[in-house]
Every structure is written in structure tokens, then in C-alpha cells.
Symmetry: C2
Subunit: 431 residues, 2 copies
């Protein structure tokens, strides 16, 4: 992926070092470093300071080096990660978004979580077709170029797998928000409202459901009510400005805002219209929620209000010691915008309202911050989101009381990180 | 960059082909394809249809293949491009954003235009420091970790080089919006408001200007009024959620919303506070606007209201023939939000209001569309943006009348594409 060249030499630069030190001395600075009004770190001369001006001794790469850019070598640990024991084969598995390494609300395309049921289809867009059939006046087949002649929209939406946080149903399982909450991403889609395409074909009287079908080896199919299809679904071909990535359904996928990710059929090749749901594998044996009494909740499509603190967290400990500390995370709801996020540092006994920052968009991630002065004592960090429909993120125990522990889906319970005095953090549960 | 494997075989699938054809026949479809209510393309059996269901015969890549994702091989022409004759060396040159390949308002990080004056600095963030000195109460040195302890903000801003469209001053020069307008990108930045950092150091009485300095080989420096620094400038370390890319100033850059890109100092290592501008190279011999009378306009920082049609354009001709056609482009202004965009198909004699779509954010790109029924005749396509401050994008001749043709900077004139009957397009001027 990366052809980054190494620096050629490591020679220090005494002249520059002297100048810098002189500059600091002349201005009377004792190199005391205060953050947010508080003294912190690096009060003594810093060995690193002798190297900080060295970068400008070397001409760097020119514009001929990277037609398509890539991250710094220093960010090589910022990657999607999978868990080998989670599924039988990597072709039918999950690669989690590194939420603890991100900020803002946009997930960069290279880091969007991926979940496949038959591997990543490798599709030539010039050969790809989308067929509309079933209970329609005129069955139609569209090329990619045809699709791009309809009016387009651009919307930022989160996509969350129904199984996100699934292993938390039976207790704290995985040590890091990448694994507990990393089956979510948030990008700006460009696409055609599905209603335009369906209206072009003409829905016959009695048509009540659609069945989008993927062109991958799993032939993914899900039943979706026509009402949702005509409301805000998009047939999308771009994400964050550029073509969909192969693992996100290149060249075209369905966008089903606020609903579970499995319904956002990738590599979309066909949409059938019918008068009842099809009862496909992924809406019967999978993506249904088995209750305590042996019955299953079905058609639980909407992703409920949820949040997680991304920093600090097990993969992102506090390394700067006590003092001014930024706690941050993301919140989202399939019911609309996030209205408020609360943060607790004592396991839910007391709550403070967090600061929401950045664009507030419906069915999108929202970024929140809680800036506070850490006294170095142990913390039980939690966040609790409230959406504009008035839904409040529940505790895991409240969820278990309502639904038991058989399911792996739709766990939107409050997450707890135990931050220790040394700044390290662990996934725990509080009762 | 890309380790994508080729498909293993090209065997056709007669069984699947038959099924598909049968499905179409059974539903009575004549494969007539209508777009937006009009007949278009592919009315006859399509040879490609025999291949369209083949993708699902192969298991694709699994989640172990791409920890950090990359675009499809079919998108390999979607890259930044440079012009060899523009500067003496690629280490001091420009790589243009492929605007004609993008949609929405977010520029993906791998395609953001880059302009360097001494190549791309290769910086270890653990060693990097930011110094605040000059007319301050307490000179300070910050590590990257220190910076991340201040309260953060997330904002989407366009960054435009002052020389964008510079060659258009003396007539239509380059055949494609990537080259005429591709020195602009638009991302969500995460950073610390500069005012927090300056307040921490304490500005001495009489301090009126700041001088940000880059750690690259060019040691980029620009004078910025303190009023702007305390208003909306950010010290940013993330773009579109992830760390800044090296070519965008990794690990930290200045964000100067709405102002010319050269002032957004990359690889930021020092900010000096003074009582007057420093008269550096990049604000005297460069980035000043030479007028007809031999005098130069200086401190022309704000990027004025501007727009360009990205599709169709010389690099993105109309290939589908007449009928329903999407005209799209981007508009932006350093003065705030875009209020309206007009589109003309006859070289500015008649105008229609375009449809703005997607988030409308201050000092950000805005996406516009003009969906119309092309009769196949020649077009002189133009767009004209109006911002919330009431500024109207001028014609190039209006700009020339006011400022002559000596400068290469701050050309926000209306762009014209001559679309021919075959759908190809050319950069032209209309008088």
C-alpha cells in the first residue's frame, strides 16, 4: 500500500538547536508548560527539543510520489482489525473501525468497518446492472451510467451492524471500543433516492415490500417495507466524495438510513417488489432476536439510541497523567438527531452534560466531549445518549431484564470503562 | 499502493444467464429503459447482460486483505494529477484534486490537492513540538499530546490556493476542471481553536500579528492578523476523522477558514506574536496581486465567492446522448455560506437557479445540481455563485477590467465549458 521512503540520515543540527535554545532563553521562558491553566508535563529541558527542528534539513517527497495519498508511516497501527475466532472464515467476517483513533464524525473510507458473507465482490462497473422486477408496471435494467442520470442527493448517515456490541449481552467481553463498538461507520453518501427508480418502474397495486439482492457470492437479500423504500433510502454510488470502496459495495449499494447495516445491501444488482416479506435466511435464522421464552423478535430494524466513549478506552489509555483531560466519544440514533449526551465518571451515580460539537445531522454520528480536570483517581467512565425522539440509552441490565441474553443483536446498552490511576482502562460492568 | 488480486477466470455462466433472461421474459419486460420519464439507451438486448450475474460465482477477498482500504482497480484513473511544466521541480509543485470524479462536498483524504514549497516533510509526531513565542507573557512549547488536552472543535472548511484558476486570467488555458479549479479541497478538521493556545501563552499589549512557521524545508511563514487568529483559526491534527495526511501537514497544521491556502501553514512548529507583519517572501514577492499600474494589491487573504461545473466538463464528457442529464458542480465562498447558484446553458444569456444539496456550512464547498433534458444541441455551460454576504461571482472580463491581467492570484471568474453535440466539452471563453 505504501511506498514511503525512510529519512536518509539522522544527523543532528547543532546550529539550529542553539538557535532554538537561545530563542527560549532570550524570551525568559523556563519551558514551563501549562495546559488549560494548569501546570503539566515537560517542565524540565526536553531531550527531544534538540531534534525538533531537524525536519527542514531535508527536501521531502514531491507531488509525483502519491497520485492517491496514504497515511503517514507513523499511523501504521491505525487500521481496521478483525478477530480470528469470531467466524469460520475471513471471507465471512468483520473488520472493525478503530473508533479510538478517530475524531469528528466522518469515518475515512479506508477505515470503515466491513462485514462480508461471501467475501468482497470484484465488480466491473461497466458490466454491472441493476434490475427492478416483480410487482412493477415495467421491469427495468439500469447501467451505472443510467443511474447517474437521476437527481442525486448527498447525506451523512451512520451504518451500524445489528450485532455491534453483541458480545456485551453476556458481560464485558472485549477490551477496546474498536471491538465492542467498531461495527459502525459514518460517511457522506451520494446517490439517487430509491423512490425515483421505483417510480420509474411503477409499483403495482398491492406491492408492499422490496427485496434488494446483492451480486456477491452470498447473494445477500433482505425484505424491506415499501414505505421505508419510498421514504429516505438511497441507491448510492459514492461515499465521502469518491466511488464506493469494494468492501462497501462498489459500484452501488443500498442506503437504509437508521436501520441495521445488513439491510444496506452491497453490490446491489436487483430489487424485487412483492406483497409480503420473503422470509430469507438473513431475516429468519439470522438478524432476529431470540427472547428468553424461545420466541424471536423479528423485523427489529431500527438501530436504537447509543453512544460510547472512545477516549480514554482500553486501546487508548491516558498517558499524560492527571490534570486537564479530554474525554470524547460518539453518539447516534436511528430515530433522528442526538439531543444530548451525558457523561459519568463514577459508574452512573452522577452525570454531567457533555459538549456536542460538529454538524448535528439526522441518523448520523454526533461527536461529544467532556473536558475535565482529572485528579488521578480511578474512574468508571460512562456515556448516555438521548435522541430527539426522547429515547434514552439504557443500561445493559435494563436491556437484559427486557430481552434476556440469548440474542447477539441490538445491544445499545451503556458501556463502562474502568480507568485506573496509571491511566490504563478496562472493559467492565457495573451493577 | 494496491495489492488487489485479479479475477481468476472469465468463464461465463449459461445457467444464470438463462435464468435472468427467463425472469425478464416472464415479467413481460421488453428491456425498454426509461430515465426520468424519457426513453434512453439499451432498448435492445444488451450483450453485457449475459455477464452481469457472474460476480457471485467467486468468493471475494476476506477481511484479512486490507487493514487500511483502498479504491477499486476500476478507479485507478481517479487520481491527483500534476503538470510538469508548472514549476521547476515536483518538490515545489501542485497535485490537483480530480473534481470531475467527485460528488457531495467531502474530498477524500487521498485526493486532496497538495502544494509544497520544499517537498513533504516526514515528521515523527512524538518528536514534533509547537513553540509559541514573541510578544507573549509566557513562551510555551507543546508536544502533540499537550495539544490534544485542549478543548477541540470539528469544522468542515474548503482550502483553496490563491493561484487556483490562475492561468485563466489570460484566457482559457487548461482543458479540465481538475486543472482549472482543482487547487481546492474540503474536509472536516478536528483541532484546537488557536485562541485557547494563544491565551495560554498570554498575548502582550501591542501584539497584533501572528507568524505561523512550518517545519518543512521551505520554512513556510505568513503574517496573519491577531483578530483572525482569535476568531476561527484552528490548530488541526485530524482531517476527515483520521490523522492529517503527510502532504497536508502531518502531524499538525493551521486552519485559516476562508483565507488563501498558503496561510494554512503545514507541519506547524512555531507561532510568533508581533506588532506588525513580517514581510516574508510569501507575502511580498509571492501571493500579492500585481495590478496594471505596476503596484501590487497586498493582504488579499479572503477567497471570494466562486463556483465551477464539474460535470460535464472536458475530462467528463456526456456519454449517454441526449435526454435527461445531470449537470453538477461545487460553489464556495470565504465570506460564509453559499446562498444560491445559477446555471446557464447559453453562455450567460439566460440563467436558472440550481438545486443546492447536502449540508450547507460556512466557508465550505456546497454541491449544486441542474437536472435538465438535453436536446443534443451545443451548450455554453456556466455557473454563477452568490454568497450569504451578497457577493456575486463575476465574469473573467469584469475581473480583468478591475485588476488587469498581471496577477495569477484570486481569479474567481465564471468558467465556461463548450459542450458539443457529441457530448465532449472544451474550456472556452465567451465575451
Amino acid at each position: 500500500m505504501n511506498n514511503r521512503k525512510k529519512p536518509e540520515t539522522e544527523i543532528s543540527n547543532p546550529a539550529r538547536r542553539k538557535l532554538l535554545a537561545g530563542g527560549l532563553a532570550a524570551s525568559g521562558a523556563a519551558a514551563a508548560l501549562a495546559i488549560g491553566g494548569r501546570q503539566a508535563a515537560a517542565a524540565a529541558p526536553d531531550p527531544a527539543i534538540t531534534k525538533i527542528q531537524d525536519w527542514n534539513r531535508y527536501l521531502g517527497d514531491g507531488v509525483d510520489e502519491r497520485p492517491y495519498g496514504f497515511p503517514s508511516e507513523h499511523e501504521k497501527e491505525v487500521v481496521r482489525r478483525s478477530v480470528s475466532w469470531l467466524t469460520a472464515d475471513p471471507k465471512s467476517s468483520v473488520n472493525f473501525t478503530p473508533l479510538h483513533e478517530l475524531d469528528g464524525i466522518i469515518t475515512p473510507n479506508g477505515l470503515c468497518f466491513e462485514r462480508h458473507h461471501g467475501g468482497i465482490a470484484d465488480i466491473d462497473p461497466a458490466q454491472h446492472r441493476l434490475m427492478i422486477n416483480g410487482m412493477v408496471d415495467t421491469p427495468l435494467v439500469f447501467t451505472m451510467e443510467d443511474l447517474k442520470r437521476f437527481p442525486r442527493e448527498n447525506r451523512v448517515y451512520f451504518l451500524e451492524c445489528a450485532a455491534n456490541s453483541g458480545m456485551e449481552w453476556r458481560g464485558a467481553q472485549l477490551n477496546g471500543c474498536q471491538y465492542t463498538h467498531g461495527m459502525v461507520h459514518n460517511v457522506m453518501y451520494t446517490g439517487v433516492p430509491l423512490k425515483h427508480i421505483l417510480n420509474e418502474a411503477g409499483i403495482k397495486s398491492g406491492g408492499k415490500w422490496i427485496l434488494p439482492e446483492g451480486a456477491d457470492a452470498s447473494g445477500m437479500t433482505r425484505s424491506i417495507p415499501l414505505e421505508k423504500a419510498l421514504d429516505d433510502c438511497l441507491v448510492a454510488f459514492k461515499m465521502n466524495g469518491e466511488a464506493l470502496r469494494p468492501e462497501q459495495g462498489y459500484p452501488v449499494r443500498l442506503v437504509v438510513p437508521g436501520w441495521e447495516g445488513n439491510m444496506w445491501v452491497k453490490w446491489l444488482r436487483r430489487i424485487e417488489i412483492g406483497d409480503q416479506p420473503w422470509q430469507m435466511r438473513e431475516e429468519t435464522s439470522k438478524y432476529t432476536d431470540l427472547m428468553e421464552d424461545g420466541k424471536a423478535r423479528r423485523f427489529t430494524w431500527t438501530m436504537d439510541v447509543k453512544s460510547v466513549i472512545t477516549n480514554p478506552s482500553p486501546q487508548a489509555p491516558i498517558t499524560h497523567g492527571k490534570g486537564q483531560t479530554v474525554v470524547t466519544g460518539v453518539a447516534w440514533s436511528g430515530h433522528g438527531k442526538i439531543k444530548r449526551v451525558d457523561v459519568s465518571i463514577d459508574g452512573g451515580r452522577n452525570w454531567e452534560t457533555a459538549r456536542l460539537d460538529g454538524p448535528s445531522l439526522s441518523k448520523s454520528l454526533h461527536r461529544f466531549y467532556h473536558d475535565f480536570n482529572w485528579d488521578g483517581s480511578e474512574l468508571l467512565l460512562q456515556s448516555r445518549a438521548i435522541d430527539e425522539a426522547g429515547n434514552i440509552q439504557p443500561t445493559k441490565n435494563e436491556l437484559r431484564a427486557a430481552r434476556g441474553q440469548n440474542s447477539i443483536y441490538h445491544n445499545n446498552g451503556i458501556q463502562t470503562w474502568h480507568v485506573k490511576a496509571d491511566g490504563s482502562a478496562e472493559n467492565v460492568e457495573v451493577s
